[in-house]
């Protein structure tokens, strides 16, 4: 989240899209209800009418996978109606930057596309530069190649007719959302966008969110209270695990994982430390070497010295261009390229797409370690329905894992708040928390290396490791510590003491920190701030619900990111009635500002401190699939063509080729319907845990498929009937839930039906049904490799008899 949960109450218009907030964030939904009480407009754009829609002012059904067409139409509407916030856009975004002559876009493709590699050469996605090397700006916004005009032209094709034809949303509904949301493009209004997996789980997931970024920048809604782009994270601690680099492509604190082509720390820094030639750009990532060095120092301690590159050489290096995400790991397992492994905190044999492939893949392993609170579809894959256990060689070790309430530590919520939780009860039996398992396990390996030697011993033996796991100790190290006696702002610190903030981190080895973002969370001065529960606040903070002394949030306890964009060039809030910060008597008051420098008119400092050139990125070169969003159909689509270009699907999406990776043709008559998948309130994710809770299973006992009355009539299906849903990858039994909450779409002159299924059921719970993901597709976003779980092509028919559901 750019903002935080409480701040949603300050919004005038809430667009919930790609999220089912009421069902998946039932407690936090109260802040949305508070906004409604204040008179905010609540809009839900989603394929099905859900419990969220029931509480919104209106629900707009959208064909799954057409969000960019919908949002592109809104961007066009902003220009058409002049709803954009001129002063904000001109000063705080790269709207005035002039693009180089080599950049272009034609028939669905940007310049630099290589069809064989399915990749872009991004060199032409660049700005004209002046002799100093700084990007050229045209403050009059007249240059046809300035970003604003390029965007305006790019989205000219997104007319109401085309958008309506593609999305299946009526023109009346389109205008209703556009009008309501774009009314926030004024200084005294704020609109927020709430999204979740409904946006990320597409082959164009990153570009869905980029569309939101463009919208919110044009409307001046980033940095302000009641605004922002707010990813609703879940109880699995998505925020914390992302911050701490759960994924392969980064190391803690949003630094790239080392590549084979960056063999030395200098090479790593050169490739990853941006240089800005724009005056007034803070370019915060220029500090990256301090954070990476402090991270290495935290990992390798006294072994890490300037002379040995702080042990950078010991880190594993990814092969350039290789994908090590779970989808690719599972493909390697499928192809027999891996012999064993650990699966922790996930139940892939239920939750990963194209599950038949996943289940077959796991049979290829010699050994597998699963840590779980009890048996799951993954731990017991070898005895799944239809499998012959005597023919499966995998030796599976199921290690009992402690439950969330059986351990202490921190969770980072969606608003980046770090909150400590205590242990409620001791783990049952031999169950261990992750930390209590992992720390001794590494110690055992270290001992074996010491005694027996082996490949790459230094990686483990030089590590600064722990005798035993202690959550508090780890939390202190995440904050960071001095590795030598130091002085910060005139205050002396001894070696071993806590660093007060990330500005104290150094690139010379005198500091360590397991994650620079969390520096300041546990200090000498204030102790463990994740335990703070003090509701005190200034009247200005109270006005918008900021509680600076309640827990702590990264970065620097800043509750609303990019808050320097909430004020005009002189530091006066755009909207004094919900001021986030204000320049008063020579200092900032309110939230922690994005830097203490005086306002932009005085200091020249631009508000977007994390981007290289200090501006919000209307045009962004980081995405692999284009600097601007463009509508492409899902990898499996019910239509053969769309009106935006002849490029039917994303030119860059990733996929695998195997006998199991079958795909339907566009508009395939064998699979004419769109399937979208989701979780539900009563079960947690894939349901592995909650299906074992009788009271929750009582409320949602069995797998169902929601479909319209129209489709049900066409297929002779009655409410409550057993049905079979089929995709090219598998067949799944479900109970039909025939409902007015799903309606047929009129798309490109014909009727397209969509059906929806939860993925919370698996065969280890008898009679409840088995994995919905046996239907879903392994086509992935080219940036994140997140699979397209939200859209694939299927068929549905009435079942003669049921075997999975009883």
């Amino acid at each position: 989240m750019t903002n935080h949960w409480i701040d949603i109450k300050n919004s005038d218009a809430i667009l919930i899209m790609g999220s089912n907030a009421a069902e998946h964030h039932p407690i936090a939904f109260k802040w949305i209800m508070k906004a409604k009480e204040r008179g905010a407009a609540l809009m839900h754009v989603d394929p099905k009418f859900s419990r969220t829609s029931a509480r919104c002012d209106f629900h707009v059904p959208l064909r799954s996978g057409t969000d960019i067409a919908f949002l592109g139409g809104m961007i066009r509407y902003i220009f058409e109606t002049g709803s954009w916030f001129r002063e904000y856009v001109l000063n705080y975004t790269n709207a005035a930057f002039v693009l180089s002559k080599g950049f272009g876009f034609s028939d669905g493709l940007f310049t630099g596309y290589d069809p064989d590699a399915r990749r872009y050469d991004k060199r032409s996605w660049s700005f004209e530069r002046d002799p100093s090397g700084a990007p050229m700006r045209d403050e009059t916004l007249q240059n046809p190649r300035c970003v604003l005009n390029v965007i305006r032209r790019h989205f000219e094709r997104y007319t109401l007719d085309r958008v309506s034809d593609t999305t299946g949303v009526s023109k009346r509904d389109l205008v209703r959302v556009y009008e309501t949301f774009c009314a926030t493009g004024r200084p005294d209004k704020a609109g927020t966008i709430l999204y979740a997996l409904g946006w990320t789980q597409h082959t164009v997931g990153v570009q869905n969110i980029r569309s939101a970024a463009i919208l919110q920048l044009l409307l001046g809604n980033i940095g302000v209270s009641g605004g922002g782009i707010n990813a609703l994270r879940g109880e699995p601690n998505v925020q914390g695990s992302t911050d701490h680099a759960l994924l392969y492509d980064s190391i803690p604190g949003y630094h790239k994982a080392p590549l084979a082509s960056w063999q030395t720390l200098a090479e790593y820094h050169k490739a990853n430390t941006p240089v800005s030639l724009v005056e007034g750009s803070v370019n915060w990532w220029q500090n990256r070497p301090k954070y990476v060095t402090s991270l290495l120092k935290a990992w390798y301690g006294d072994s890490a010295t300037p002379e040995n590159d702080f042990c950078y050489g010991l880190l594993p290096k990814l092969a350039d261009g290789e994908d090590y995400s779970y989808m690719y790991i599972m493909d390697r397992v499928f192809n027999g390229q891996m012999r064993g492994g650990f699966i922790m905190g996930v139940n892939p044999m239920n939750s990963f797409p194209n599950t038949h492939k996943m289940r077959a893949a796991l049979d290829n392993l010699d050994w597998l370690v699963v840590t779980e609170i009890h048996n799951s579809e993954t731990s017991d894959n070898w005895r799944r329905p239809g499998a012959d256990p005597s023919k499966i060689k995998t030796e599976v070790f199921l290690l009992p894992s402690a439950h969330r309430i059986e351990k202490e530590g921190t969770i980072s919520n969606s608003g980046r708040w770090l909150q400590w939780f205590d242990k409620a009860v001791e783990p049952e039996g031999e169950a261990l928390s992750f930390g209590n398992f992992w720390v001794p396990f590494i110690n055992l390996m270290r001992k074996m290396y010491e005694e027996e030697g082996g490949a790459c011993p230094e990686q483990l033996l030089k590590m600064r490791w722990y005798e035993k796991f202690d959550a508090s100790d780890i939390a202190r190290r995440i904050n960071g510590q001095f590795e030598a006696d130091c002085e910060v702002n005139g205050k002396k610190y001894r070696k071993g003491q806590q660093v007060p903030m990330f500005t104290a981190l150094k690139a010379d080895g005198s500091t360590s920190s397991l994650n620079w973002l969390y520096a300041g969370s546990w200090t000498e001065e204030d102790g463990n701030k994740s335990k703070r529960r003090d509701p005190s606040q200034t009247p200005m903070q109270a006005n918008i619900g900021i509680f600076p002394n309640w827990s702590w949030c990264w970065p620097q306890n800043r509750r609303i990111l990019y808050n320097r964009a909430s004020v005009d060039l002189n530091g006066r809030p755009w909207d004094p009635s919900r001021a986030v910060i204000e320049w008063k008597d020579g200092k900032w008051v309110g939230d922690t500002p994005d830097g203490a420098q005086p306002p932009m008119a005085e200091s020249g400092v631009k508000p977007f401190i994390m981007t290289t050139d200090g501006t919000g990125l209307l045009f962004a070169t980081a995405p692999a699939d284009g600097p601007l969003p463009e509508h492409y159909e899902p990898a499996e689509t019910p239509i053969k063509e769309h009106p935006f270009s002849s490029q039917l699907s994303s030119p860059c999406y990733k996929y695998h080729k195997s006998a199991y990776d079958k795909m339907a043709e566009p508009a395939d008559p064998a699979f004419p319907y769109v399937l979208t998948t989701y979780s539900l309130t009563e079960h947690w994710c894939g349901g592995g845990e909650t299906r074992a809770v009788p009271n929750l299973l009582e409320a949602e006992p069995q797998l169902y498929v929601e479909l319209s009355h129209e489709l049900a009539r066409e297929k002779g299906i009655e409410n409550g009937d057993g049905v079979i849903v089929e995709s090219p990858r598998g067949a799944v039994e479900a109970i039909a839930m025939v409902t007015i909450r799903i309606r047929p779409f009129e798309v490109m002159g014909r009727t397209v039906h969509l059906i929806g299924m939860p993925f919370a059921y698996g065969w280890t719970t008898p009679g409840c049904g088995d994995s919905t993901n046996r239907l879903t597709i392994g086509a992935c976003d080219p940036n994140t490799t997140i699979p397209e779980l939200k859209a694939c092509s299927v068929n549905i028919r009435k079942a003669a008899r049921l075997t999975e559901i009883a």
């Binding site: 002012d57 209106f58 009788p694 069995q702 909450r741």
Partner: protein, 219 residues
């Protein structure tokens, strides 16, 4: 001063926290249920579910989807017919607690014969009481009388995250219902509060009670 509930269905998200919390506080086991083409599960009140969230959907006169949620429970009537009928069958088998206004089943209920049980069940205009054959008792919402006597709100109210449910002095709840009704009427011209003043549970609905539940209203 008797107590009362407010249930403002225009705020309900049917998270069913109340339904589950009720079971857990009363230590009631789960029923073996099946998916029957509805999210409403268990399908009805039963000895193990003293509170059930009902789901009802229809298209309004403008073709818009209306999906209504109705957290159903005993209304703790001001003049409970069930208590009258029960006491005719077995004196003292049901009472209305004068302090809280809670309508409660007592141990004496075990002496009731089948005819008495049937009469009591049939008498309830809201179709609330159920017969627990195992315990040989009439069962229904008890207002979490143990909690209320200890100064705590009923478990369903405590659990509600959206402000749908409130509990307190009857006067306060009546005032709150009036306020919530005024708010709801801005968006739903047909909004209403059900069956005041006969009940102690004030349901705020967005439209006619038949779009919620057959027994939503006595009137």
């Amino acid at each position: 001063m008797p107590k009362a509930f407010l249930i403002d269905t225009t705020r309900c998200t049917a998270c069913r926290g109340c339904q589950i919390a009720c079971k857990e506080w009363h230590d009631l086991p789960a029923n073996a249920t099946k998916q029957r083409g509805s999210h409403q599960n268990p399908p009805d009140l039963n000895p193990y579910n003293l509170k059930v969230v009902r789901f009802h959907e229809h298209l309004d006169d403008q073709g818009r989807v209306m999906w209504n949620f109705f957290p159903d429970q005993c209304r703790h009537c001001v003049k409970p017919i069930c208590v009258t009928m029960a006491n005719k069958a077995v004196p003292g088998s049901m009472i209305k607690d004068p302090k809280t206004g809670a309508v409660l089943v007592t141990e004496k209920c075990r002496e009731m014969d089948e005819a008495g049980v049937k009469t009591v069940i049939k008498s309830c205009p809201y179709n609330i009481p159920r017969w627990d054959a195992e315990k040989k008792m009439l069962v229904k919402c008890d207002m979490c009388i143990d909690r209320v006597q200890a100064g705590l709100p009923p478990m369903c109210v405590k659990t509600c995250p959206t402000g749908t449910m409130a509990f307190g002095e009857r006067d306060e709840m009546l005032a709150l219902a009036k306020k919530r009704l005024a708010e709801a009427q801005k968006r739903f011209p047909k909004a209403r509060v059900l069956d005041v003043p006969e009940v102690s549970v004030f349901f705020v609905l967005a439209e006619e009670p038949e779009h919620y539940h057959e027994y939503a209203s006595f009137g």
